[in-house]
Amino acid sequence: MSDKIAFSEDRLAKAKEIILRYPEGKQKSALLPLLHLAQEQFGWVSAASMDYIAEMLQIEPIEVYEVATFYTMFHLEPVGKHVIEYCRTGPCCTMGGEEVYDHLKTKLKIEANQTTSNGLFTLKEVECLAACGWGPCFQIREKFYMHLTNEKVDGIIEELSK
């Protein structure tokens, strides 16, 4: 058993609105939106969050676990304040993505799936973000950072470190 947690008031209202979007008896369709909502609030998706969602949707906890572990967007362990999700797929590499990635790692002094010692940045490698012509690119939460260069990366990291 994990510790009890709960959505904030506005997110709880949002969750209830989401569940009503689907036909009667099909409330399980709300699972991915609710997982996103949990990650938005807590930064990651813990077992406690998953149990809470299962209860809300009246489904078995395993039905949440098997879904949360299938999709790559959900962080199943605590992460830093800013999660940098860096595109490593071919078209971005063609646009110079590998060089910029090396620079980013050197700058942060971490490798993929690590968090900086100050807890500010977690680095993750992701597959194609559908921004190939605007690459190299990475994403932090909902924001896309595109046309990346070493200088641009320096500026972004410095800005977010303030």
Binding site: R21, Y22, P23, K26, K28, S29, A30, L31, L32, P33, L35, H36, L57, I59, E63, E66, V67, F70, Y71, T72, M73, F74, E85, R88, T89, G90, P91, C93, T94, M95, V126, E127, C128, L129, A130, A131, C132, G133, W134, G135, Q139, R141, E142, K143, F144
Partner: protein, 448 residues
């Protein structure tokens, strides 16, 4: 040919086009007015059939025909689901269209839902595009407030609700049955077919799944007629197509082209890609997203028979897989002589291994195996037998899986070896040179 016609992007640069007001002023929602007030659902389906528009997600299946397969049992709801899970490497057109002109998709969804008799329709957007989801939700609210969505649309008695659903990060959910599983709150494992979604889709009800660009074409088809659409393009490649262009070209971005545009014009004209970056030469092209066969530059510009190639379904596939490729999703990746084909192939194979859902052994094991062997060759530890092994593994995946991800993983590997075998052999023969930073094998005769 009405050169330069824009069906989807005509108003894309109009300031404020993302708002209902400006979109409406630019002629938007006229198609909704027309279908609701003057047409029957059957007539709408007929126009889309006449247009000859083909599925723009990659498969190229005629959209009107797909619509006509939809089962219509009494008392069972029918669903339209828009596939906005755009994840094929090289493809970013739907992302561009939705963020720039969201109401075009909303209008298309209303027209298409009306045609299919759907009262609740979904737009499944890849979760990474959460900011686009918010743009779409705002557009839906605006359309609702204006009476174009919700109960009793324009006083017609027709009700429609649109739901935007986020994915969770999984390329496989672009496959329509995996998408439906995901929409039901499950892992994105593709379903065995039959039954097809047209009979048993979302919640076991008859369902049509269409790509963003396909649906966005329907307002123009309704306003101008299916025949007018069919008059555009060339042969069975009717209308226009959005091409996402990336790689070593001067002007990367999204372009709407009339199908049949000569490849050479698309590549070199300043109106489009503007040519290869200065001082470099084209080496290879992936014309339709990472899964279609890669072609050396010379075979991309001209078919094996020496004919100029066109941007159309038929011309790009001329020569079959021996010397042709596919239009696919229109994800156009240009590579110049600084590109290492082995490294790029390894990168793509890693992608497919990462994205395989694991349901079918040939794909689950085969994609990992190919990635491992390609990694070995790229990093200077390969041997000659490895090259044939790759061809063999690719062959054993192809056609042996529930969904097309297996084929999509096999084709880039098989085609890279087919056309650039000497480059793989060079890596095996000269591992020291091949693994030096920036080292690339170049065969002059394929460059353009």
């Amino acid at each position: 040919m009405a050169k330069g016609i824009k069906i989807l992007t005509e108003h894309i640069n109009t300031p404020g086009i993302e708002t209902f007001e400006v979109y409406k002023k630019s002629g938007g929602y006229a198609a909704v007015e027309k279908v609701i007030k003057k047409m029957t659902p059957e007539e709408v389906v007929e126009e889309v059939k006449k247009s000859g528009v083909r599925g723009r997600g990659g498969a190229g299946f005629p959209m009107g025909m797909k619509w006509s397969f939809l089962a219509k049992p009494e008392g069972v709801p029918r669903y339209l689901v828009c596939n906005a899970d755009e994840s094929e490497p090289g493809t970013f057109k739907d992302h561009f269209l939705m963020k720039s002109i969201p109401h075009l998709l909303i209008e298309g969804m209303i027209v298409s839902s009306f045609a299919l008799g759907a009262h609740k329709s979904f737009i499944y957007v890849r979760g990474e595009l959460m900011y686009v989801i918010r743009i779409l939700e705002k557009a839906i609210e605006e359309a609702k407030a204006a009476g174009y969505l919700g109960k009793n649309i324009l006083g017609s008695g027709y009700d429609l609700e649109l739901v935007v659903q986020p994915g969770g990060g999984a390329y496989i959910c672009g496959e329509e049955t995996a998408l439906l599983e995901s929409l039901e709150g499950k892992r994105g494992n593709p379903r065995n077919k039959p039954p097809f979604p047209a009979v048993k889709g979302l919640y076991q009800s008859p369902t049509v799944v269409n790509n963003v660009e396909s649906i966005a074409n329907t307002p123009w088809i309704i306003n101008n007629g299916g025949d007018a659409y069919a008059a555009l393009g060339i042969g069975r490649s009717t209308g226009t197509k959005l091409i996402s262009a990336s790689g070593h070209i001067k002007n990367p971005g999204v372009y709407e082209i009339e199908l049949g545009l000569p490849v050479e014009e698309f590549l070199y004209s300043d109106e489009f890609l503007g040519g290869i970056r200065d001082g470099h030469h084209l080496k290879a092209v992936v014309a339709g997203g990472s899964s279609v066969p890669i072609l050396p530059a010379n075979l991309f510009l001209k078919t094996a028979n020496g004919e100029d190639r066109l941007m159309s379904y038929e011309s790009l596939s001329d020569g079959g897989f021996a010397s042709g490729t596919m239009l696919g999703s229109g994800g156009f990746i240009a590579m110049d002589e600084t590109t290492c084909i082995v490294r790029n192939t390894w990168n793509f194979s890693r992608f497919y291994h990462h994205e395989s859902c694991g349901q079918c052994s040939p794909c689950r094991e085969g994609t990992g195996w190919m990635e491992k062997v390609l990694h070995r060759i790229e990093h200077g530890h390969g041997n000659m037998r490895d090259i044939d092994l790759l061809v063999d593994v690719a062959k054993k995946i192809e056609g042996n899986t529930i969904c097309p991800l297996g084929d999509a993983a096999a084709w880039p590997v098989a085609s890279a070896i087919r056309h650039f075998r000497d480059e793989f052999e060079w890596h095996v023969k000269y591992p020291k040179e091949a693994t030096m930073k920036g080292a690339v094998y170049v065969k002059e005769e394929v460059l353009v």
